[in-house]
């Protein structure tokens, strides 16, 4: 599974993308974020507060309780601020 990070999520994690292979217990986007916190202090800091996170699965915005299913690309980021 390909992960993408943007804005301060990217900065805190220290990388814009990485490949992961989460265990079966990781069913939703929220599960994934929680599981990722164990990877580094940066991950832990970036992903600690789910209320500040938004996500896209295969390039579509989704709620954090969305099942990962057969997702190939998951992105985690703060609320968008374009325009």
């Amino acid at each position: 599974m390909k992960l993408l990070y943007f804005a301060w999520v990217r900065e805190r994690i220290g990388a814009g993308e990485e490949q992961v292979d989460p265990p079966e217990a990781v069913r939703t986007v929220a599960d994934l974020a929680e599981w990722l916190r164990g990877r580094s202090a940066g991950h832990d800091e970036a992903l600690a507060d789910l209320t500040k996170l938004r996500a896209a699965v295969d390039q579509r915005f989704v709620p954090l309780d969305t099942p990962l299913g057969a997702a190939k690309e998951v992105a985690l980021f703060p609320p968008v601020t374009g325009g």
């Binding site: 943007f6 915005f61 989704v62 980021f77 968008v80 601020t81 374009g82």
Partner: protein, 151 residues
């Protein structure tokens, strides 16, 4: 006609508007968002999600064309570093009559603010900070749709 562009280059409004007018429209509405320097911002950097951004903007344009009788919709968003006075975003809509063009233009900028993956970082001298999302943007987007985007 739909045209969507996400680019580091400055936005050339004259060219974009001329393209929209060529469709034979009777009414063209446009919106330009510009970097403000009035609160000490010296640089604004726009990050985005390549690939998803373009498809999100195309989706918005298609939704506008489905909802109003538009001849064309153009969405141009700049990314990368900018300074006060630079154009960040340009939207133009063309229709036979003014109401469709004006409403669709307002719709597109309201929806773009909440439904496209861009992130702004402001720099004030040496200090940089990511811009917080504005709750008002979600209210503005929600007035166009029953199904609101995640806030």
């Amino acid at each position: 006609m739909i045209r969507v562009s996400v680019d580091h280059a400055p936005i050339d409004i004259g060219t974009e508007l001329a393209g929209v007018e060529e469709t034979g429209a009777g009414a063209v509405a446009s919106f330009t968002g510009i970097v403000r320097g009035d609160d000490g911002v010296t640089c604004l950097e726009l990050e985005h999600y390549p690939g998803m951004t373009e498809s999100a903007l195309c989706d918005l344009a298609e939704q506008a064309l489905a909802r109003w009788s538009l001849l064309s919709a153009v969405i141009v968003h700049r990314v990368g570093p900018m300074t006060p006075g630079d154009r960040v975003v340009f939207i133009a809509t063309a229709a036979s009559h003014r109401q469709a063009a004006l409403e669709a233009c307002a719709y597109l900028i309201d929806r773009l603010k909440t439904d496209a993956p861009f992130w702004k970082r402001e720099q004030r001298g040496e200090a940089a900070s990511w811009v917080d999302a504005r709750p008002g943007d979600h209210q503005a987007a929600a007035r166009w749709t029953a199904q609101s985007a995640p806030d």
